[in-house]
Amino acid sequence: MKVTAEQIHAYVDGELTPEEAGQVEAALAADAACRAEAESARLVKDCLTAKCAAHDCRVTWQKSMDRLNELDKARTTETFIGRYSWAFAAAVLAFIILAAGVNRMSGRTDLEQASMASLFSGLNVMEGAERDPLGKIRGAFGGIDCDIRPEALDIQEIAYGQVAGRRAVRMAARDSRGPIVLVMVEGVERFEGFASAGRDLALGKMNGVNGVAWTDGPVGIAAFANREPERLLALAQAIRGR
């Protein structure tokens, strides 16, 4: 039976079934051309095996490992971001909400000049407030008492409302030296532009008018009048209950 060159090469490589191998062996025994083909196959195969040495691949190995390290690094970062991105976003959001809540609930903060300006124009006037000023102020602040002495002043008008999201009261009054505007804002610790003047009092200005400020519990209070700072400090002492 005639065999092909492919079968002879496969025979040399030990890749034939026993049945095919038997056919090739028979052909090799009978045909010089088949033997020559088999010898040629062995010759080339042996030549390659003997002459082609392994190449030094240490540099390529190190560079390949470096590439895999970079890939691992990128994967780790991607995995971390992918796995925790929602957690990060949720944490940031929770922090913002919590901080806002804490600030809202217990935050004692500064009142900026721009917000202070709205104390003089944007509040609602209470009717008959001069008859029970402390009661009106307590009502405006939701039950919080402000320790001031209304009898020290001739109260003409009381207005209430909100400034910078905080409950606020404005009181127009007079004393023997002239008109006074008293403002009270919940949760304000310091009025912008006011500096400490000792004895828990601070002095400053609003639209060129001198003012004196202090805190009474959770409420920041400021009195404005066209008079010298020393007079304002004395006025504050007169108005303050303690």
Binding site: E6, H9, K51, C57, S64, D72
Partner: protein, 190 residues
């Protein structure tokens, strides 16, 4: 190393690739015939293999990674070739080098050839035949493994190996003749 530690998949991949890395690089070098290209091809094959490692079926890692390498070479590098062997993937156009009995050279003549000369002769074998011969004769892969690596039937592998060796034999003879190991007149006398 920071990310390597505690990465079982990476450690497992390295354990599997380490024993056959010289085969991967050697095959890349014999396919591209250029050290820089071989290095790029090897790195690219390793990255592809690493990325696809979860899909490795666990049977024959060497055949699997060499399949990635040869596919990369065929798809990417062959297009770049502008040498005389470009387009050598076309099997139909390959010459049939079956030689008469009297042309089979003496084994001692091939023994005189240097390794570099054999490598150069191998480089002249068209791609598809060269790949099959490299995987079979140099990497010791079975026909089934070569078939898996090159994604062709075993019958095609048989054909490619036989024809590849025949072409290589002709090239080796040419080198032997050029180097004076085999003289035309001697051959004629025989």
């Amino acid at each position: 190393m920071l990310f390597k530690r505690g990465n079982p998949q990476r450690e497992r991949f390295e354990r599997m690739v380490s024993p056959c890395f010289s085969s991967v690089y050697g095959t890349a070098l014999r396919l591209t015939r250029n050290p820089d290209e071989a290095q790029d091809l090897t790195q690219e094959a390793l990255v592809r293999a690493y990325e696809a490692f979860e899909r490795f079926d666990g049977r024959n890692f060497k055949a699997w990674i060499l399949r990635i390498l040869t596919n990369l070479y065929i798809n990417r590098y062959r297009r770049l070739k502008r040498t005389g062997t470009a387009g050598s993937l076309d099997e139909e156009n390959a010459i049939e080098p079956t030689a008469p009995v009297e042309e089979i050279p003496d084994r001692q003549l091939f023994d005189r050839l240097l390794g570099a000369e054999v490598e150069e002769a191998l480089a002249k074998v068209p791609d598809v035949f060269r790949i099959a011969v490299i995987l079979s004769d140099l990497e010791g892969m079975s026909y089934d493994e070569v078939a898996e690596a090159t994604e062709v039937p075993v019958g095609t592998v048989r054909s490619r190996i036989a024809r590849g060796r025949a072409i290589l034999r002709r090239e080796l003879e040419a080198y032997a003749r050029a180097e004076g190991y085999l003289k035309d007149d001697e051959e004629d006398d025989e």
